[in-house]
Each structure stands twice: as C-alpha cells, then as structure tokens.
C-alpha cells in the first residue's frame, strides 16, 4: 500500500467539470457490473497489492490504454521472480523495456525481435531449468508479434512444450506504427491500410481466431481474458503460473481509444461491451477441456458495441446483421465445445 502523498488531487480554482453525464452514448455511465463484482474486485485488490507496481510509474502509453492496465496488473500478479519479453509493439514503444540506459520495469525485461519472442524465452527458460531455478518467463506481445510475424516461433515453442507464459494483448491492429491492419483485425474494421471508401468497407477478411489456434496446439492452458474483467484475468494468470508441463497462452482483449477511436475514459466500458455482446467470450481450455468463465445472462446486441467506436461507424444495418449472425455462430460453437469436451 502506498504511503500518503502530499500531492492530492483537488479541484483547480475556477475549473469546470469535463465529463458531464447525460444520455448520449459516449457519456452515459453504465457500470452496473462493477456493483455486481464489487466483492471480487476487492479480493483481486488484495492479490494485486501483494507486490509493488513493477512497471515504471510514467511511460508513454496513450491515455486510457487497456494494455498498460493489463501489463501493470500482470506484473503485480507475477511478482519480481519474472523475466519479461516485450517485442516491438505498443508496450515496447511506450518504454516498457526502457530508453537510453534506463529500464521501464523493476524486473528483468528485454526486447526480443518481433518474430522470435517465444524462441528467446524458450532459451532462457531451458537454461534456468538446467540450473534448477524456477523463474516465470513471460511474453507480453501484441497481435502482430503473436498472430503474424511471431506466429511461427510461437507455434514451434507451443509444439515443443516450452514452459513459458505467453500473453498476447490484441488491440486488433498494428497500433504502435499508427493503426495498420493485422491478422487479428476483425472484418469491417477501419484501419490506415483498410480505409473506408467508395469501394471499401474497411477490412474485407475475418480476423484469425488466435486463442482457438493455440488451443489446437494441445498446450496445457489456453484462455481468453479481458482487462475490463480483472478478477477473471487474475484468476487465469494464476492458473497459467501453475503450469509446469508446457506453454500457457492467454489472449487478452485490448481496447485502443487511439486506434479504434473512442473516448479515453470509455476503455473499460468498451471492453465490457465486447464480453456482454458475446463478441469476445471469456473462456479457458485446461488440458483440452473448454469452459466458459463468465456467463453472459442476456447478450447485448452487437450494435451497441459497433456504435461505441468510430472504427465501425461506416457499417450498414445489413453488415451489422451479418456481424450479429457471425458473433452468435461463434458463440454457439464455443458453447458446443464446452459441452463436448
């Protein structure tokens, strides 16, 4: 727990309130779920505060960055006995590995290449295992470093059963270089390389389902998680840390106010909507057995999600219906998987 600090926040003289609540979508406040999860959040709070914040207090992440939140939480759960790989991407760009002779974290951290994260971690883990030391060896990689350029090395490491924790923060595009499409960019997303125009409605292909692909590698632990649902994520991270017979893979939804174009204070809410619409269900696959970890009682229409950000602003009703269909199909398939495994 932090000690008291004299620099408390007070209202500057004459300053007006900036986020005025009314009924328009972008400002309406809808965080009922936090009431429901209040107890869990308090429990998670005790988990999180067990270790100090291992990330530098100041880094260059955008305002409202979901991934920065996730990374801070991740390190506080993993603790100081951890070696962290941050391949090129947003987290590297904001200075997590450091800048000019300084480190962005209080634990050992390094830049692998964009496409060799899992391989380098495998080498580190193998050597420490030889020496009989149990160290958390963890990747925190973007979707480009995971699903695209980094996929071969990740797939190889998974198949070889390397005992590493691989976390992908998926903000659905190459955000560090300024919003270009990636392999996980969903259909119809606007990006700088899939612009919307006379002959284009954004990306014309579906994104690849990275967590399912990793589950198909038959590794001991695969999960999806979302930093808006921190207690769920913390749970999964702890499970991942327990795995000793192969790779753990966690796919993190990672909202991006800059690249998706929504107000910075809405990050948690957008993430919440992704789950509540069944677009991004929270599940885990332990030794081949699928299980939902967060049951959505009544799914929210996908339109609420698409309307919450500019990257889908161009969608027609027809396209939204088609999107709804595919969301429902995916969800049904997942439920079936949970049932039959």
């Amino acid at each position: 727990m932090e000690s008291n600090n004299n620099n408390y926040s007070t209202r500057p003289k004459g300053a007006k309130a900036t986020l005025v609540k009314d009924d328009s979508f972008f400002t309406k406040k809808r965080f009922g779920f936090i009431f429901r999860e209040e107890k869990k959040i308090k429990e998670a709070y005790y988990d999180v505060t067990r270790h100090e914040d291992l990330l530098s207090p100041g880094n260059s992440a955008c305002l409202g960055c979901h991934a920065e939140l996730a990374l801070r939480t991740t390190l506080r759960i993993l603790g100081p006995n951890t070696i962290l790989a941050i391949p090129p991407g947003c987290m590297g760009g904001i200075g997590v590995v450091g800048f000019q002779g300084g480190s962005g974290t209080k634990i050992p951290v390094f830049f692998p290449l964009l496409d060799n994260t899992a391989a380098m971690l495998a080498g580190i883990k193998r050597q420490y295992q030889r020496e009989g030391r149990d160290v958390n060896v963890v990747a925190f990689a973007g979707d480009g470093g995971t699903a695209d350029a980094g996929f071969q090395s990740l797939s190889g490491a998974a198949e070889r059963g390397e005992n590493i924790i691989y976390i992908c923060y998926d903000n659905e595009a190459y955000m560090n270089t300024g919003v270009q499409r990636s392999g996980t960019t969903p259909k119809w997303s606007w990006t700088q390389t899939t612009p919307v125009g006379e002959k284009s409605q954004g990306k014309s292909q579906k994104g690849k389902d990275m967590p399912m692909i990793m589950a198909a590698h038959n590794i001991p632990y695969v999960a999806t998680a979302n930093p808006s649902f921190l207690p769920d994520y913390i749970d999964k991270l702890k499970k991942a840390m327990q795995v000793k017979n192969g790779m753990s893979y966690i796919h993190l939804y990672s909202g991006c106010p800059t690249g998706w174009k929504f107000p910075t204070e809405k990050t948690i809410e957008v993430g919440k909507l992704a789950v509540e619409t069944n677009l991004y269900p929270l599940w885990e696959c332990v030794e081949g057995k699928f299980r939902m970890t967060y049951e959505v009682k009544k799914r929210t229409p996908i339109e609420e999600y698409t309307r919450s950000m500019q990257k889908y602003a161009h969608l027609t009703d027809e396209e939204i219906r088609s999107l709804q269909y595919s969301v429902d199909q995916n969800y049904k398939r997942l439920k079936d998987l949970c049932r039959i495994t």
């Binding site: 100081p80 002779g101 480190s103 050992p108 390094f110 971690l121 080498g123 580190i124 050597q127």
Partner: protein
C-alpha cells in the same frame, strides 16, 4: 596425445562443441549442415553432451533460442548453411550488437538462385558485415580445434563477439579424414566455464536488455563493437599460441602462411582450396617457380597489417575465390586485399573465381593460376579476373618456349 579418429567436417564440429561443454544447442537441418544436427542429437541422446537440444522449427528460432540461453548464462552452439543463414539474418545481426559470444558452424554453400545445394562460399561472405568474427578452416582437424578456440575468443571480456567457424560445404563437411580428438581434461584446462554478465536477465539482479537507444549512445556502442573486433586480432593470436603449446597443433592465427619466406609470388585463398593450393605450390616450386600462399584464416576482422607485411614485397598476387563480390565483379578476397592496402603501393594482383556451385577448385586450375601470376610478376598483361570454366585459360600463349625451364613449367601444369 588425444584419440585418433576419422571424422568428417560436421562430426569434427560436433566434437568441438562437445569438448567445449556447451549447455544449450539448437539447430535446424539444412544441406550440407544436416549431419551436424544429427551428430549433436546423438551425442545428447547418448548422454555424451550434458546439454539441452532444442529441436527448433527454423534457423531463425535456432539462433533466437541460443540468444535467450546466453541471456541466462548458457554456453551455446548451432550451425547452418546458405538459406538457413539467410533466414537467420535478423537475429544474426543482433547477436553481434548484443555482444553475445555464440559460436556457430557455418557450413558454406551457394545461395539460391539458381536452385542449388552444393558448396561455395557465397553465404558466408555475404554476411561479413554483420559483426561476427569469421574463422575459415582448411581441414577437419582445424574445424574441431577452431570450434573450441572460438569459445575462448568469443567469451574474452574484451571481445564478446559471436564467432562463425566456416568450413566448405561437402569439401570438408562430408569429407572424412584423420582427426586427433583432444582429451577432455586438457580442453577443460584451456577453456574455463562461461561467465557472461554484461547482458544477463536475472530476477536477482534486474536489468533491461536492449532498451531504445538513440544516436549518441548508439554511436558509442558501435564504436565499442569495432574496438572489440580489432582487439579480437590480439586474442586470436594469443589463443593460437596457447593452443599450440597445449596441443602441439598450429593452424595459423589471422592468416596461415605456406612457403612465403622466399616467395616471388603469392597465392591468396580461403577455406578448402588452400589445401589443394599447397600441393600445387609444392609441384610448381619443383619446376622453379617461387610461389607461396597466404591463407585468409580470419575474414572478419580482416588481417590488414598481416597482409601488408606479407605481401608488400612480392612481385604479384593471385587470389582464388569460391565467391563473388558485386562491388566490382571480383571475388571477396581480392576486394578485401585491395581495401587492406588502402591505396598504398601494392604488387599487381589478379583474381581467379572458381569452385562455384560445388565444382572443385582443381589442382590444375591452381597450377594455372600460379603460372599466370608468375607471368604477371614478370611484367606480363593478363585479365584482372579469370572465371574458371567460363574464361578460356590458354597458358600456351604465356610461354615463348625457347627456354627449357619454360617448357618444363608448361608441362607441369597439365
């Protein structure tokens, strides 16, 4: 006295790694390096090497695994060739900038296209600006000895650079010959345990590795890299001395010199053709041509001072290259020699390109090269670069044949 065995180049390299007591291995098979991977796997499977062998899915990953291992303090080994090296290029450069003392066998081969799997030196010379030390071997004994020596050079605190032990694909990698395997205890006394701390990922002593580094700092690091490369020359020489005292074998330091004491002309080459050149030199000396050889044993750092000292006084130089440089259409050793003299007065020099795509540099070709170089030494004019197999080499025209000695030399070539 060690054990005498018959080893091909790949097995000699594997023995070198075993004697160096590596703890982490990762390699992906590629012709002609493939047997090396199999030998390493067999050594590990039979418990002869106490190491982890990571069966990677590509060369890119092979080198990356080793980098991770070094970050955790491991002594590592891998090997590759040609396209594998090309695929490895991204982590390859970084190995030298991170100053990781990784040793890698580079079984030299042509690069495609055209589609080929055969020997040549194009792969290795192409990456000579990637910051690795490159040591070129002539025999399988040298391959074994050099792999062990390479760790001592690479892990020296003033060097801390990765080393490629280059040996010609097939000509050495698949050719088996008599090799003496040194005793483990003696190697242990020569090569201490690795102590790599300048980049170490250890939760007990956290640091970040390779943070963003801008101009002024990067300039200093680059300068340090170049300084280390220069210093490596001294270390290579020291290691040579120590090795020859302990094991009684000397393969040369930066260069390997043959019959240069009284030489009028010099042949300069690299890798396996040097062996054939020795035979050619002996034969041509019988016929009265005073020829010697300077073998480029270390291509990076380049033996600039050694070359100047050895070659300034000869009357002509003939370089033999199993590779080409696209800078000016010469082979690499020709180009590097020109740079080594840096505009200073140097003897006339001609280049011979041969042995590409797995063809032999034959005894006859080297003898021709010697005669042509002698002709140039005598003031004759000859084309700057001769491509064996492509350029017609008519040595008849070099002789007026009134002289009995000329007649003998001419007959000696074929």
């Amino acid at each position: 006295m060690g054990k005498i065995d018959v080893l091909n180049g790949n097995k000699a390299a594997a023995w070198g790694a075993k004697l160096a007591r590596v703890s982490l291995l990762a390699a992906y098979p590629i012709t002609p390096q493939t047997p090396l991977v199999e030998y390493l796997a067999t050594f590990v499977a039979e418990g002869e090497i106490d190491a982890d062998l990571v069966e990677v899915e590509s060369e890119h990953t092979a080198l990356s695994v080793l980098q991770g291992g070094v970050f955790a303090g491991a002594r590592t080994f891998t090997g590759t060739s040609s396209q594998g090296l090309a695929l490895m290029y991204e982590p390859y450069i970084r190995t030298s900038t991170m100053r990781l003392p990784i040793v890698m066998a580079l079984v030299t081969r042509e690069v495609i296209s055209p589609q080929t799997v055969w020997g040549g030196q194009q792969d290795a010379v192409t990456v000579r600006e990637a910051g690795w030390i490159q040591i070129w071997c002539e025999s399988n004994q040298e391959v074994l000895d050099t792999v062990v020596q390479a760790y001592k050079i690479a892990e020296n605190k003033g060097v801390l650079l990765p080393v490629n032990v280059c040996y010609d694909g097939f000509s050495l990698s698949h050719m088996a010959e008599r090799v003496e395997i040194p005793e483990q205890e003696k190697v242990d006394s020569f090569l201490p345990k690795p102590d790599i701390t300048h980049v170490k990922l250890d939760p007990d002593k956290p640091m970040s590795v390779d943070p963003l580094t801008a101009g002024p700092m990067l300039t200093e690091f680059r300068h340090k890299q170049v300084t280390a490369m220069k210093y490596a020359k001294e270390v290579i020489e020291e290691v040579r001395q120590e090795w020859s005292q302990l094991f009684g074998r000397d393969h040369g330091g930066m260069v390997d010199v043959y019959r240069m004491e009284d030489a009028d002309i010099a042949i300069v080459c690299m890798g396996s053709p040097a062996g054939t050149a020795r035979v050619a030199i002996d034969e041509m000396r019988e016929l009265g041509i005073k020829v010697g050889m300077v073998r480029i044993r270390v291509l990076r750092p380049f033996p600039v001072e050694e070359m100047q000292a050895l070659l300034s006084g000869v009357k002509a130089i003939g370089t033999i290259d199993r590779n080409v440089s696209f800078a000016a259409g010469y082979g690499t050793s020709y180009l590097e020699l020109r740079t080594a003299f840096g505009g200073k007065r140097m003897p006339p020099m001609i280049d011979f390109i041969g042995g590409l795509g797995g063809s032999d540099v034959t005894l006859e070709q080297i003898k021709q090269a010697i005669v042509i170089t002698q002709y140039v030494a005598n003031g004759g004019e000859y084309r700057d670069v001769t491509w064996f197999g492509l350029d017609e080499v008519d040595v008849d025209q070099l002789f007026d044949l009134e002289d009995q000695a000329d007649q003998e030399v001419k007959e000696g070539i074929v």
